[in-house]
């Protein structure tokens, strides 16, 4: 599986891990990762440790996730982004919408 999900013990935090290229090919899998959950998590962590590349459709998918998680009231963190991936996030100024580390 190129997209893995993990719920924290207390069921409040959903972690989504993306392996390899994060592009339109992952669209369905990524949506399923948060839409198919039985309950809405309080916070979502997108782990990009094993993500090699990210394109603009991936940025769109992150916006979809943010919207699903409550829009401006959502708590979505993007973690472990490589320097290349961070550059892409930075050009679009996504740190204004997401907590990126």
């Amino acid at each position: 599986m190129a997209v893995e999900t993990d719920f924290s013990q207390d069921g409040k935090k959903l972690t989504i891990k993306i392996k390899g290229r994060f592009d339109f090919g992952k669209h369905q899998e990524f949506r399923d990762a948060y839409e198919s959950q039985p309950r809405r998590p309080d916070s979502v962590v997108v782990d990009l440790k094993d993500t090699t590349y990210l394109d603009s459709s991936a940025l769109g998918m992150l916006l979809l996730l943010r919207d699903h998680a409550g829009g401006d009231d959502s708590d979505v963190r993007v973690v472990h982004a490589s320097s290349d991936v961070r550059k892409i996030l930075a050009i679009s100024n996504f740190e204004k919408l997401f907590d990126i580390s």
């Binding site: 603009s56 940025l59 916006l63 050009i91 679009s92 100024n93």
Partner: protein, 563 residues
């Protein structure tokens, strides 16, 4: 035993007994049979009846089975008409000849009804498979033609919208794939009524029609508002709100928007999500980057959208290089990206900025990347006053009412000064007067100049001498933003007075501010060099109106237009 689906079968056999026997076997299996006594008859009958399957004796008089097979296959064209050779030949070479002549299978005499039925069924499966493949291919071809035609029509409509500006102006050189519209890239340029040039380079997420659909309203807003004299901040708000409203959540538009003002010698920049653009000196050195400071258009709700721009000096002959991510993301065979470092190396190696555009293209070619269809590259040279082609203002009425005896006072205070630009509204209002229409550009320039003077030097108390060099320039606009943000009171008041004259009419514009005023005599006596980038636009305003001046200790500027 009857077949699931009856076929039409041609039986060609010169021996009367064998022919009858074979026809009977096939008929009993439920198929319709035509018979021929030799190859020539078989070909003629095939042409006439178009049977779906052919049983062909190899050795026949007049024309043998091999030649008949070739001719039947040629007549059948792309459709698979299976040919089963009937043969008493059993040398390997003869059997090979059967297949090479176009036969699909062969069957040895004497005939077994069971094997023949099985072979016909197997051949029917192949025939149908081929028919399905062909039908699907034709369907795809039809859809493809349909799509291309739709794109052609959509592009024609879009070109009417997108190319209504001045993208072909001599100071702009650009490269966009002919179907850039369908890869989401968008490049627009237009002159404002006062002769500034607005340029937009945009890149929609996604490809194809969705991107093109978003591009249409964006282009409409760009041209509509530019022609009416709106500034970047207003346009950006409108574009963002519109895209936010119409695009799905995961679609947005990265955009770099510019206002090149030759009067002020500046470029105003807003970059949301596009790669760095570059400002180049006349001898090709990179002087500054136009970096992305904002989220792309269509992401944030109107109340959170940030329309703040940066202002950089840009003199005639200096250049800007803009690009889409297709340039830096061009990948070679090992999937390595061209990248920003390689691009900067090309910029650093450049000696003649006129050649830079070609040098970037050559570097991309040498890099060996597969050329992407979404490369947009745009080289803009700051134009001269003579090159300006101010846009004709859009009129929304016939101008017949043409009121000639009225006045209007319009005061902006506190919060309104931070956000609102009254100039486009006032220019639109003045369009009601027929005689002023030829002066639209001048009115826009004068009102813009006097309004920003009143705001910046009057209300905010900024000293225009700060702007004498590039460094001071940046400081000036930072300070402007800071003071504007902190502003609580103060006002700018604009009075318009229109009166009829015997031959035409007269407009008097007065712009007052709450500032400290200035020593008119002293400023006017400064040497022109010192006025340079600053100069309170005195010269300009004086040139455009019939007469102009200051009173009330520099707190009131007035201009008079006679027509």
């Amino acid at each position: 035993m009857s077949a699931e689906q009856p076929l039409t079968v041609l039986v060609a056999e010169d021996g009367a007994t064998d022919r009858l026997l074979l026809a009977q076997i096939v008929r009993r299996q439920g198929h319709q049979v035509f018979t021929a006594e030799n190859g020539e008859q078989a070909v003629a009958l095939f042409a006439e009846k178009r049977p779906q399957l052919v049983l062909l004796d190899a050795l026949m008089p007049v024309m043998d089975g091999f030649e008949a097979a070739r001719q039947i296959k040629a007549l059948a064209g792309e459709a698979l008409v299976p040919i089963i050779f009937l043969t008493s030949l059993n040398e390997e070479e003869a059997l090979v000849r059967c297949l090479e002549a176009g036969g699909d299978d062969f069957m040895a005499k004497p005939y077994s009804a069971v094997i023949l039925a099985a072979k016909i069924r197997a051949m029917d499966r192949l025939r149908r498979l081929q028919a399905t493949v062909l039908a699907q291919r034709d369907l795809i071809t039809r859809h493809h033609h349909h799509l291309l035609n739709e794109q052609r029509v959509a592009k024609a409509v879009f070109d009417k919208v997108a190319h209504s500006g001045c993208i072909t102006a001599p100071n702009i050189r650009y490269l966009q794939s002919p179907y850039a519209l369908f890869n989401g890239d968008l490049l627009l340029a237009a002159f404002t009524p006062s002769g500034d040039m607005h340029v937009l380079l945009g890149d929609f997420t996604g490809h194809g029609l969705p991107a093109a659909v978003g591009a249409m309203p964006l282009a409409e807003v760009f041209y509509g508002m530019t022609a009416k004299g709106y500034g970047l901040a207003h346009m950006l708000r409108e574009m963002n709100a519109k895209l936010k409203r119409i695009l799905p959540v995961d679609m947005f538009c990265c955009a770099l928007l510019l206002n090149l003002s030759v009067q002020r010698g500046t470029v105003e920049v807003w970059n949301g999500g596009m790669p760095d653009g570059y400002r180049l000196s006349a001898d090709g050195k990179v002087v500054a980057s136009l970096a992305s400071r904002h989220l792309p258009l269509g992401v944030l709700a109107a109340e959170r959208f940030d329309d703040s721009t940066e202002v950089l000096p840009l003199a005639a002959g200096e250049r800007l290089l803009l690009l889409s991510d297709g340039v830096v993301d061009t990948a070679d065979e090992q999937e390595r990206l061209f990248g920003v470092e390689r691009l900067r190396a090309v910029l650093a190696a450049n000696r003649d900025p006129v050649q830079l555009f070609d040098e970037v293209m050559q570097a991309l070619e040498r890099f060996g990347g597969t050329p992407r269809d979404d490369i947009s590259l745009c080289d803009i040279r700051m134009f001269t006053v003579e090159e300006r082609v101010p846009a004709p203002t859009l009129y929304s009425d016939s101008g017949r009412s043409s009121p000639l005896d009225w006045s209007l006072g319009f005061a902006l205070r506190g919060e309104s000064l931070k956000r609102f630009n009254p100039v486009p509204y006032l220019v639109q209002l003045l369009q009601e007067i027929h005689g002023l229409r030829p002066l639209t550009g001048a009115l826009h320039s004068v009102l813009s100049e006097l309004y920003s003077n009143a705001l910046e030097h009057g209300v905010l108390g900024l000293d225009s001498r700060l702007k004498r060099d590039a460094h001071g320039f940046a400081d000036y606009y930072q300070e402007r933003a800071r003071r504007l943000d902190a502003l609580v009171d103060g006002f700018v008041r604009i009075d318009l007075k229109v009166e009829p004259l015997a031959s035409g009419g007269r407009l008097i514009i007065e712009v007052r501010d709450s500032g400290a005023g200035f020593d008119v005599q002293q400023v006017l006596s400064r040497p022109a060099s010192e006025q340079g980038l600053s100069g309170r636009g005195l010269k300009l305003v004086g040139q455009l109106g019939s007469s102009a001046g200051w009173r009330e200790g520099g707190r009131c500027a007035w201009v008079q237009f006679d027509w």
